[in-house]
Amino acid sequence: MGAAARVLLGLGGTVLLGFAASMGFSRALRRGERAAWALATGLFIQSILVLLFAAARAPLRPLLLLGAGGLLSLVVAVASRSLRRSDAGLVEKPPGGSPVLARILFAAALAAWALFLVSAAAEPMWATDYLAIWGLKGKTIFETGGLPSRLFRDPALFWAHREYPLLVPLSLAALAGIAGEWHDRALALLFPAAALATLLAISGFLSRRGSRTGGAAAALLAALCFRLYHPVNAGTAEVIFALGAVLAACAFLDLADRDSPEARARVAVAALFCASTKQEGTLWIALLGVLYLIARRRSLASRETALGVAAFAIPPVAHAILLLWLRGPQTSRDFDVRLFEPRHWADLANRFGAVVARIATTEAREAAVPLVAIALFLLLTRRAFADPLLSALLVQIFCYGLAFSVSSFDPMYAVEAAFRRIALTLFPVLTLVLGARLSSARSNEQALV
């Protein structure tokens, strides 16, 4: 059996493990959503297993990994049985919208996704960030069967971003363990798999909360984001974070709509997934947590609100403590935080202005047509249930601008090197907003007819 087939089998095993473990909190969701939660949960479980294997100095063998994963999933599934009932009514409502149109739109989304699949798997992963950060760590973990401290302490690896979270390297190491070898072309399949899960999450969520057509249209829009779903992002954390950001957004919207232990569990899992994928994942969860507090402002003192806040806050904090324990304190060489001190505020304002001007005259100008189209769509359509995400998206982008302003290197270089790449990870979340508005526009039309 070829390496690609073994990685595909590994991905199938990952989804099965995740499916068992996520059954308690995803049973009431649509099938596509459940598949997306299964992949995310499965990747997380396997990453934990790699850490446990490393601690036990056990080799990463396919059967051992799958067997231990199955056992762990079973334990989680049994432990979460009590969650199963309270949001069973989530899918009572049949999805609205034309099923034929929805199928056509989703088929187009799959065709666009297939382009990413083919281009990502056509050659070994080659992005600079893959070689220097994600792939280097993943391969070292797989080849040594451990988490060598030099990954975080060796001065020779000063460029390898020791402060970054480890879900992507650990997931690559786990898949390589199941496949039995580090094959950097076959392992690229992880990224189209995450992209497909993102599309399924978007279409499934919107067909449950909005309409089938809105869900399929949003999935198509996300799939057409070729700058995100590009071979250069096979091997980096962007595509994986886009999945986490969408899952977190869906979980937040469910929790804000109807408090339930399942929705809280989904928030907690998505929070853990986002925080362990990219540093900006923690920021995204924090912003969603603030939105949740705003949504619950009339019942801030209730037990449900406290549990909801805990679902947003505890996983990132627990993750940060785990990382601190695993690799010691790490400082980022990317940022000069002294610029936040009051005596540097004038300088900070100048730098921020320069960053905004640069983004406006380069990135935003290049994307002017889609940006204007999105703005017009938002102006001409009515507000919908996913609109609160817009403010979180804008604040997240603002924070990116602020982060570039305190860059230790030339802020203009930082903008050129990273802004588009990290901003586009949020586009699939934006399609949730657009799809929800489309769903509500169509249901208004149908009501009038």
């Binding site: 600079t128 220097a132 280097l136 060598p148 030099r150 060796d154 001065p155 020779a156 460029w159 071979p231």
Partner: protein
């Protein structure tokens, strides 16, 4: 795409990987630009520890490539580079 900047460098790294133990520390003398010379060496040769030319004292092996190979007297010639066991 991974070796767009220097296709022959790929064969050199494969050969260095074949001739050095997995727990070796290898000092890489490679062109400073593009910086992907350094990143490809670290990735392709993982789990070996890769250090720059200024940490040769820590390395059991020295590999030099392209314009940098003149800095390494002796060693085994491999393509446009050299490999030396210390």
């Amino acid at each position: 795409m991974g070796f767009f900047f220097d296709r022959a460098y790929s064969d050199f790294l494969d050969e260095v990987a074949r001739r050095t133990p997995r727990d070796a520390t290898v000092a890489m003398l490679v062109p400073r630009r593009p910086d992907v010379y350094r990143f490809q060496a670290a990735y392709t040769l993982a789990p070996r520890r890769i250090v720059d030319g200024d940490a040769i004292a820590e390395a059991g092996w020295i590999a030099a490539w392209g314009s940098e190979r003149e800095r390494l007297p002796g060693g085994v010639p491999i393509g446009d580079g050299r490999l030396l066991a210390r």
